[in-house]
C-alpha cells in the first residue's frame, strides 16, 4: 500500500482500431495494483472498468490517452480521446445500446454493456463528450471499498 500523500502516475497512448493492443494499459495497472497489495476485489473492479474504457477508445476513437493516478485512497482514471464523440450520452449509458462496428463485435464487444459495466464497477464516473471532437471519461475506484457498494 502507498503512504498517505504519495501517488503513482501512469500515462498510456491508445491507437484507434488497434485491437491486438487493447488491454495493455489495464494489464500494466493490474500488475502495479497487485504489487501494492491492493485487495483483489478492488483490483478487479478497477481493471474491468479500465479495460472496458480502453476497448471503447480502440473501438470508437482515432486515438486517446489514458492517465492513471494511484494514491492510498483511490485509483483515478482519466481517458481523453479524439474521435466522433457521443451524440446522446444517456442513450449510450443504456444497457444494450451500441454503435460498434462488426469488427468490434467480432472481438467480443459492442453489445452495449461497456459503459453500464464501468458504472457498476466504479465509485465515481463522469463522461463528457463533444460531437466531432472527442470524449473524456473519468472513473474513480476507492481503495477501501472492498464490497463494491456504490457510495
Amino acid at each position: 500500500m502507498l503512504y498517505v500523500g504519495v501517488s503513482l502516475q501512469f500515462r498510456f497512448h491508445v491507437t484507434g482500431g488497434d485491437f491486438s493492443s487493447a488491454g495493455t494499459a489495464s494489464s500494466e495497472i493490474k500488475k502495479v495494483l497487485k504489487k501494492l497489495n491492493v485487495d483483489g476485489v478492488v483490483i478487479k473492479r478497477a481493471v474491468v472498468s479500465l479495460y472496458e474504457a480502453e476497448v471503447n477508445v480502440v473501438a470508437h476513437a482515432f486515438e486517446g490517452d489514458i492517465f492513471v493516478n494511484i494514491s492510498s485512497e483511490k485509483i483515478s482514471i482519466l481517458l481523453k480521446d479524439k474521435g466522433p464523440g457521443i451524440v446522446d450520452i444517456s442513450k449510450a449509458m443504456e444497457e444494450g445500446f451500441s454503435t460498434a462496428s462488426p469488427q468490434v463485435r467480432e472481438m467480443g464487444f459492442g453489445a452495449g454493456m461497456g459503459l453500464p459495466n464501468i458504472k457498476r464497477n466504479s465509485d465515481f464516473m463522469d463522461i463528457q463528450s463533444v460531437v466531432g471532437e472527442g470524449t473524456t471519461l473519468q472513473i474513480e475506484i476507492y481503495i477501501n471499498n472492498k464490497n463494491g457498494e456504490q457510495e
Binding site: F19, S20, A22, G23, S26, S27, K30, G40, K44, V47, V48, Y51, E52, V55, E106, M107, G108, F109, G110, A111, M113, G114, N117, R120, G148
Partner: protein, 114 residues
C-alpha cells in the same frame, strides 16, 4: 471436478497451464461475448467460449479467470498462447460444440454462476 478430468471428458487438449491440471473446477460460464464475461464477479470459473482471439485471454486476465476452454477446435494464435502463459491461464481446446460441452459438464454437477 479436477481440470484434468474435464479435459478427458471433452476430448480436450491442454495447450498451456499444466500446473493447473489438478485445480478443482466448481463453476462455469459460457459466452462468446466478452462484455458479458466482464460482468461476472466470481473469478473461480471455467470460461467456455467459441471466441478465439486475443481479447478472450485479455478478458480472462482482467477477470482473474484461470481456466479457458475453446470449443469446436477454434485455432489458438501464438499471441493468445503467449499471453495465456504469461498470466498462468490453462488454455484448453475441445472438438465439441458449446452446447455439448455445457450439457456434459452441467450433467456432472458443474454449477452455473447465475
Amino acid at each position: 471436478m479436477r481440470l484434468k478430468k474435464i479435459i478427458d471428458l471433452l476430448e480436450g487438449n491442454l495447450l498451456c497451464g499444466e500446473e493447473r491440471l489438478n485445480d478443482e473446477v466448481e463453476f462455469a460460464f459460457a459466452s462468446d461475448l466478452m462484455s458479458d464475461v466482464l460482468t461476472v464477479a466470481d473469478s473461480e470459473i471455467l470460461l467456455i467460449t467459441g471466441l478465439a482471439n486475443i481479447q478472450t485471454i485479455r478478458t480472462s486476465e482482467m477477470s482473474d479467470i484461470s481456466h479457458v476452454l475453446l470449443v469446436r477446435n477454434k485455432r489458438v494464435t501464438q499471441e493468445m498462447l503467449s499471453l495465456a502463459i504469461e498470466n498462468g491461464i490453462a488454455l484448453i481446446e475441445s472438438p465439441y460444440s458449446m452446447f455439448k460441452v455445457c450439457g456434459i459438464l452441467y450433467n456432472l454437477g458443474i454449477k452455473p454462476v447465475f
